[in-house]
């Protein structure tokens, strides 16, 4: 079972929900074979690790393939620069320049070069780390290197890494990147359910609708959680009601929650209202995915 926590707007509580839900489940099923994995795929700012600290098991450098120009083979036909959809190649008449940071690793230039003058070579893009927290809770994260512009290839590899390494996990909670573009679309690919977390403000509402459109487009099953419930207005609630979108939790807006967050602490241990809301969210997830609670 894989649940992705996503949002249109950033800062609505993806990490808070992902981390607290993961800890809750690992506590609920301690001593059983129901293993929980928390996976941070928000590679541009992985911050789940600020809230849970485990023992590092191993780390793996991640690479992607980018073309390299072979001057001795090139006949200066310009085909590569004409083909590139991302302006990652510049044809200068006597040479070809490659901008790896713009390359989407699509292979078009490399495959269509008649002279094999653009072989694909590995470029480092980030690192994936695995942690052990306790017998029921594992944590992993991917982190993109500074200066690397494309997050999606690293997220794709992370998704595959989870499939290969955590096959026996009962419940995977995935902290996804914010927004509605390629990174989040890649991150939620394997999810059985996407939980969209929002705040009940005009800004939160606006971006939630964009996130809903994205999930509809991807034909993903999704549900909504409202964070900081109590501020703003009822637009989100009314909208979800009208569209028959399940709202599986309302995390109350509490000063104490903000205080714990700023200290990097888990909220369910200290705020009973938040623990009971997390339990409700878990039950909502079970209902929607037909997992036995």
């Amino acid at each position: 079972m894989q649940i992705a926590i996503a949002s249109g707007k950033g800062g609505t509580g993806k990490t808070t929900l992902a981390v607290n839900l993961a800890v809750l489940l690992s506590e609920m099923f301690a001593g059983t074979d129901r293993k929980v994995l928390l996976a941070d795929t928000d590679v541009e700012e992985p911050n789940s690790g600020l809230f849970i600290r485990g023992k590092l098991i191993d780390e793996e450098i991640k690479y992607r393939l980018v073309p390299e120009w072979k001057e001795d083979k090139c006949t200066l036909c310009k085909r590569c620069a004409n083909i590139c959809e991302y302006n990652a190649l510049a044809f200068l008449g006597i040479s070809v320049m490659i901008f790896p940071e713009l390359c989407h690793s699509c292979y078009a230039c490399s495959d269509l070069c008649p002279e094999d003058a653009l072989p694909m070579v590995p470029h480092r893009m980030g690192i994936t780390k695995r942690y052990h927290l306790n017998d029921n809770l594992q944590f992993m994260e991917s982190r993109i290197d500074i200066g690397v512009e494309q997050a999606t290839p690293l997220i794709e590899q992370t998704r595959k890494f989870i499939k290969e390494n955590y096959d026996d996990t009962w419940f995977t909670i995935l902290d996804a990147p914010p927004g509605t573009s390629c990174p989040v679309m890649e991150a939620v690919k394997d999810a059985d359910l996407v939980v969209l977390i929002t705040e009940p403000t005009p800004f939160g509402f606006h971006d939630l609708k964009l996130a809903i459109d994205t999930m509809e487009e991807l034909k993903k099953k999704y549900a909504v959680v409202i964070n900081k419930y109590g501020i703003g207005n009822d637009d989100v609630l009314n909208y979800c009601h009208d569209k028959r979108i399940p709202v599986i939790g309302k995390i109350p807006h509490l000063m104490e929650a903000a205080r714990l967050y700023s200290k990097g602490k888990i909220m369910i241990d200290e705020i009973p209202e938040i623990r009971s809301e997390m339990e409700k969210i878990y039950k909502g997830i079970c209902q929607l995915t037909e997992v036995k609670a």
């Binding site: 302006n87 200068l92 008449g93």
Partner: protein, 107 residues
């Protein structure tokens, strides 16, 4: 000598553009013929990324000896133009294409 000027529109009276990659287009002045030719950038400037590279590639294709913009050249455009060996003038100021050619043709 060929001078390529990032411009807000076609013609001698057009103001120099303070954008390079996302300029409306480029006027090419050829000192041998005295002609000014226009190279629209409409399609390229809509791209999300790499517009500076494309503009610099145009400068290379047109074999410009001098490239002028009213603002600055982005890092990637600068890298490409550096390879072409063209002389670069940035922050040319709030002047017309004609004034830019007059001012810099002796460079």
């Amino acid at each position: 000598m060929k001078i390529l000027i990032a411009a807000k529109r076609e013609g001698w009276d057009a103001p120099v553009s303070d954008r390079f990659g996302r300029a409306a287009g480029f006027s090419l002045y050829d000192s041998e013929t005295g002609n000014l030719s226009w190279h629209s950038n409409t399609e390229n400037k809509q791209a999300e990324h790499g517009v500076g590279i494309q503009a610099a590639q145009l400068a290379a294709t047109l074999q410009a000896d001098l490239v002028i913009t009213g603002g600055n050249f982005g890092p990637k455009a600068g890298e490409v133009l550096g390879k072409t060996g063209a002389k670069l003038i940035d922050y040319a100021g709030d002047i017309s294409v004609k004034q830019a050619v007059e001012k810099y043709k002796s460079h």
